[in-house]
């Protein structure tokens, strides 16, 4: 592989695929700047939204488990020690879930970047298994911008980019500011240089 020009630069680029915390703009009002080939973070509020979503799920599952545990404790002839163990493990699990719900969205947020350039759209993500996915603008079949109730509350949106591919038939990015998502969508589907498929 002939990597002659800018080898070090590329190495540096690759080394900080997603880990670096360069001072990205916070996307306060980024309509004019987001399509500039620079890396952007998601909206910080997306962390809160993700935490809340996770918490809602965690509470629902925890309640179901709690009912199961209570049934075991109250209605089965198991020994007291076992019942205590069941209760204790529920408490431990619930505590773990609580910590995870609080921490994980933050960690994940720290590892997600997106970039829009002349060629198309790129997402960087992954905490342990890191990936970069680039969708050329000319391969975008259609895009969706959607908002859930929680996202609407925070002015966030999800951007889904559909391609004709198999694995990456859709690339989803949750937690963009709504205007930014619309702006990227408009840019990607503006197909002046595209021949209809």
């Amino acid at each position: 592989m002939a990597v002659d020009v800018g080898k070090t630069e590329l190495a540096a680029d690759a080394a900080r695929i997603v880990s670096e915390n360069e001072p990205d703009p916070q996307d306060a009002n980024p309509q004019d700047t987001v399509i500039d080939g620079r890396r952007y973070r998601l909206h910080p509020k997306s962390v809160v939204a993700a935490q809340l979503t996770a918490a809602i799920w965690a509470v629902a599952v925890a309640m179901i488990l709690l009912i199961a545990v209570l049934v075991v404790v109250l209605a089965t002839p198991l020994s007291g020690a076992l019942k205590l163990a069941a209760l204790a493990s529920w408490v431990v699990l619930a505590a773990l879930a609580g910590v995870l719900c609080y921490r994980w969205p933050r960690v994940r947020y720290d590892h997600i970047r997106y970039r829009v350039d002349d060629n198309g759209f790129t997402v960087y993500r992954g905490v342990f298994w890191r990936s970069v996915t680039s969708v050329p603008k000319a391969r975008v079949q259609h895009t969706d911008v959607s908002q859930g109730p929680l996202q609407r509350g925070y002015g966030l949106a999800s951007l889904v980019i559909h391609t004709a591919g198999t694995q990456d038939s859709s690339v989803t990015l949750r937690g963009l500011p709504h205007e930014v998502a619309m702006h990227i969508r408009d840019y990607l589907i503006d197909g002046s240089d595209r021949i209809a498929v």
Binding site: I17, S131, S134, A164, T166
Partner: protein
């Protein structure tokens, strides 16, 4: 024109779906072959007749289960009526299909969206000179339209209309990107050239190479499974009786029971392997009988099958990916297999349900002499010059990672084996480790990729060697991935997604690249594919 007028009077009134009875509706003026109802009912009854006969025999008389099957009669009538009301036709730039009795459907399929038109003919079809036609678009899953059945003239007309009209529209991007390499021989009147014919002997070789016999065995087991009582037979007892006398004789002759058991086991294995090959050979002789690949202009046509004759027209432009396969047995015969991937209608169930045979991948050439591969690929992708490809290696130190992975697996198995079975497992483990070393070295040696002016080539495997070829304009997304192990070794993989790929895993993965190289390769792929328009 009279017929068209008639149609519009017939149907524009009852097609009151809010669809304005536009110009196109009137173009749907062609009916199915007059005998279509026969095939429709036959196809419909196929699913019922076998169970009905089984029930009849199993119960020894007419019972409620048979009476229940009378319920299918109205459904069969419906199938017949559907045949009668089915219409299709050709507008300037699209095909129109109207079907349905109560729920009417009018489907407009632009010629530019049609991926291929496939024909299937079973012997009855052939006898009556008709064919089942599948019109496929990129929608994936099932074909856009299954037309059961058309006369062969009608099929030729359809192919002419669809592919002819598209040629006039001009595949600008395609012509532009290959104009230098190939003289334009895309005129519709150009003669059809045969690129490949596969005689029976080649299919026998293919049967020897392939494990397709397993399919036959699987089907046989499935059939037996449905017979009651089969599973309750005492197999070990029967086997004992068969092998018992031979065993006794051998044991007295050789004096070592272990040796005899090993001998008998080996014999059974060999016989099974032999039978599997025989089934394989039979399967291919049957399925791929008289396989021919022809080309006219930009359209390739593949025809095969003894019982069900399949004829598949694939525009070159629609090929998403090419793959050559060369197993050790292929090398023994000095042959390769070439597969292609297209979009849409490719799901195997769809093929099966619609009366066609199950396709095995999509053969471009099931067996071709190795020396003929570059020539064949050039016919399909004029830019490919397989002999001149400059292969780039993957990271050389990757062999250690491959080796480590195998050593870890071997170690676990060896320890378990040594503790629970036999200390000799350690010797076996050592032998496996040597093999793992060989494997990891060869793996790295035979892996490689090449970025050319027109696309990406990827080769992998040393035992079964494959080469994948994809043009930049068929690349949908470009990815780069780092696992924690990758990161520790400063490596990354490059992933390329194409349309019509296998659902499990990325079809095209360049593993174990140096991080900088991976970044460079993915950037170049991204830029090259961005520069080119994609046409399905």
């Amino acid at each position: 024109m009279a017929a068209i007028e008639l149609q519009s009077e017939d149907h524009s009134s009852d097609l009151d779906l809010g669809i304005p009875p536009g110009r196109d509706a009137t173009w749907a003026d062609r009916r199915l072959h007059p005998l279509s109802w026969l095939f429709a009912t036959a196809n419909f009854a196929k699913g019922f007749i076998v169970p009905a006969i089984l029930v009849l025999f199993a119960s020894g008389g007419v019972n409620y289960e048979l009476w229940a099957s009378v319920l299918i009669v109205p459904l069969a009538v419906r199938a017949v009526v559907q045949c009668i009301v089915f219409r299709y036709g050709f507008a300037d730039d699209e095909m129109v299909v109207r079907e349905g009795v109560l729920t009417k459907t009018e489907r407009h399929i632009p010629y530019a969206r049609i991926q291929n038109i496939d024909l299937v003919q079973n012997p009855f079809h052939r006898l009556l000179k008709v064919a089942l036609v599948r019109v496929e678009t990129a929608s994936g899953g099932k074909p856009e339209a299954v037309i059961r059945v058309l006369s062969l003239e009608a099929v030729e007309e359809m192919r002419g209309r669809v592919f002819g009209a598209r040629d006039e529209a001009g595949d600008v991007a395609y012509v532009a990107c290959e104009s230098a390499a190939a003289p334009s021989d895309r005129s519709a009147v150009a003669p059809r050239r045969t690129l490949l014919e596969t005689p029976a002997l080649e299919l026998v070789k293919l049967g020897v190479i392939s494990n397709r016999g397993l399919v036959v065995v699987g089907a046989a087991v499935g059939l037996l499974w449905q017979q009651d009582g089969w599973w309750e037979l005492d197999w070990t007892d029967g086997a004992e009786r068969w092998t018992g006398s031979a065993r006794a004789w051998l044991e007295t002759a050789w004096g070592s029971p272990v040796l005899v058991v090993a001998f008998i086991g080996l014999t059974i294995l060999l016989v099974a392997a032999f039978l599997l090959r025989v089934f394989s050979i039979g399967w291919f002789l049957f399925q791929l009988h008289d396989f021919t690949l022809t080309r006219r202009g930009d359209d390739l046509r593949v025809e095969y099958g003894l019982f069900n004759r399949v004829s598949r027209t694939i525009p070159r432009l629609r090929i998403q990916m090419l793959k050559t396969i060369e197993s050790p047995l292929h090398r023994l015969f000095n042959r390769q297999s070439v597969e292609l991937r297209t979009v849409g209608g490719g799901s195997e169930e769809a093929d099966f349900e619609d009366g066609g045979p199950k396709t095995q991948g999509r053969w471009l050439a099931p067996m071709i002499p190795t020396s003929g591969v570059p020539q064949l690929l050039r016919e399909v992708l004029p830019q490919v010059k397989l002999e001149e490809v400059q292969w780039e290696p993957i990271a050389r130190r990757a062999w250690r990672r491959v080796f480590k992975r195998w050593v870890a697996l071997v170690t676990v198995l060896t320890v378990v084996g040594a503790v629970f079975l036999d200390p000799w497992a350690v010797a076996l483990g050592a032998a496996a480790a040597v093999l793992a070393y060989m494997h990891s070295r060869l793996y790295v040696k035979h892996a490689g990729y090449a970025l050319t002016t027109w696309g990406l080539l990827l080769k992998s495997g040393w035992w079964e060697r494959t080469t994948k070829i994809v043009r930049y304009d068929k690349i949908q997304t470009v990815g780069r991935e780092e696992s924690p192990f990758d990161r520790r070794n400063r490596m990354a993989s490059v992933l390329v997604d194409v349309a019509g790929a296998e659902m499990i895993g990325y079809t095209i993965v360049i593993p174990y690249l140096e991080t900088a190289v991976a970044a460079d390769v993915s950037r170049r792929l991204y830029e090259e594919s961005s520069r080119r328009a994609f046409r399905l």
